[in-house]
Assembly symmetry: C2
Homo-oligomer: 316 residues x 2
């Protein structure tokens, strides 16, 4: 697949940070930045801009807050054309923390929202766009959205927001190709002035397949993470995206290097990837939080009991 407009955003540090309270050390983050830069990746998402009034810097690492001075320590001295992205969650950011683009090392701000919070997301994203940033709105848990509400959400984003890109986020790793096709086509149809992006989770080993599906249906922004690092089952592996895209600007080799040197050792400290409890939450379209808790308990391989506990929760 070669389509020049396709851009790859690597969210290794941001989504991976959900597994270690955003506490990657500077050396590791610089290694990732260097690898992504050498590989020609378009964007690196480094963390969240969360309010220090809401979250304590004593409890969380630097990449929960992404102070500009910390980002500069990552980028300084490394030759790069890779842009820096940060994520903000609705209701968790102090907008006054965000300086005008000219004064910041950040290039892109992505606003993560549920369908129900789209008005707040539009307020935020327009604020950031006015400050000069590239902007996206990422619609989380889209597998749970009712179709009429999603339609309204997309129509509002098209009419009222200054975001350049709207992402479909398969938070629970529950989408199949047909659903991905349906959602991307729907988004493309409504969002006539914007690009569509895809952020997939790998609970059912479909993150890469769904990312390809989104590309086939003209999504031009795709998220990956190195060796799939990310919350629970993780994300679409960046190295596989590079193998698929034929754009000669990308080079897979620096990614292979950093996996060898940094991610294989990291696997001994943090657990992510294909584990049955994450597959189960994907199949059942559930948030992985109970699966993460299970993996941290002494019942971590009790799959049947866990499955039955989920399907037994009758909602009426």
């Amino acid at each position: 697949m070669f389509r020049e407009k396709i851009k790859v955003l690597d969210c290794t540090i941001r989504d991976g940070g959900l597994m270690n309270k955003h506490d990657f050390d500077l050396r590791f983050v610089r290694q990732v930045y260097k690898a992504l830069s050498d590989a020609g990746i378009d964007y690196m998402e480094i963390g969240y801009k969360n309010s220090k009034r809401l979250f304590s810097p004593k409890e969380y690492g630097k990449w929960k807050f992404c102070d500009d001075c910390e980002i500069r320590k990552v980028t300084e001295g490394i030759e790069s054309r890779t842009k820096i992205s940060v994520m903000v969650d609705v209701d968790r950011v102090d907008v006054e923390d965000i300086l005008p683009k000219e004064e910041s090392p950040v290039d892109m701000i992505r606003v993560a929202t549920y369908v129900k919070d789209v008005d707040k997301a539009i307020y935020l994203v327009n604020h950031f766009a006015d400050k000069g940033y590239e902007t996206t709105v990422n619609i989380m848990a889209i597998s749970r959205a009712l179709d009429n509400e999603l339609t309204e959400c997309l129509e509002q984003l098209e009419k009222e927001s200054k975001a350049g890109i709207i992402y479909i986020v398969d938070s629970f790793g529950s989408l199949y190709q047909e659903t991905t096709e349906f959602l991307v086509k729907k988004a493309k149809e409504i969002l006539k002035s914007k690009e569509v992006g895809m952020h997939a989770h790998n609970n059912q080993q479909l993150a890469f397949g769904n990312t390809i599906e989104a590309i086939i249906h003209n999504a031009n922004y795709v998220d990956g993470s190195i060796f799939g690092l990310g919350r629970a089952a993780g994300n679409c592996p960046t190295e596989l995206i590079l193998g698929f895209l034929k754009n000669p600007k990308y080079d897979i080799r620096p990614i292979l290097d950093v996996i060898s040197k940094e991610f294989i050792p990291l696997q001994k400290k943090i657990e992510w990837g294909y584990f049955i409890p994450y597959a189960i939450t994907g199949i059942l379209d559930e948030h992985p939080r109970t699966a993460i808790a299970l993996r941290e308990s002494d019942k971590k391989e009790n799959y049947r009991e866990y499955y039955e506990s989920l399907i037994g929760e009758v909602e009426d």
Copy 2:
């Protein structure tokens, strides 16, 4: 997805046997058979019918030969509607070893062939069909087939073979959805009197995605293996297929149980799944044998060097 005609064949013991010289012990194989039976899986493929003149029973385990008496030791005393399948490779079987269906515990014989050996495969499969077995021809390494030769192969299979099902086999895990769609549509168009099947490898984490793609385009036979066990990157996980198919005859829970009890411990002895060297051979459409050798060497994490050794092999 609910389509009653879809049948699931689990090839855990057969394809997984490629990782341990087909030497699973009887207890393990019975546990797998029981789990598949309780889960309602349609077929269990237990191994190869290879000639003992070509391969020594001293060097290989039982499931390289699948003597009928050994199969009976697996099935005896376990209530089941799961049929037994064995695979034969062109040029590696003694046809006189295969008794008439009525005298054998085997229900299905699958003939694995390259496009170039299709005449031999047709001879074999017709022989087995005449002996009363359900039969398939599995076209290996289909990603390497020239289109005109594949057309001729499929036309011959339609006209000359008695096989009920023709499988597309993504031996190198190199197919993407577009290629899978192309191949399944092509096969369906030519094979008017037969069913089409899909056997995927998981080098690029696309085994499940490509299996779904094949189902979308009307393949009705799909291969899986428990927890993805199979050569190198392994296969499409049976548990994910069951999560996807809505046929109430299937029950995922016995599969979850046997993963907990048998496959988690097995992971400490045999390595399979997503490893970068297997991803590389998938991306490059190569047989995984050099990647398997790398993983057994002291350079097992030297991904860049391995990648460069493969792309450096200029063919002209």
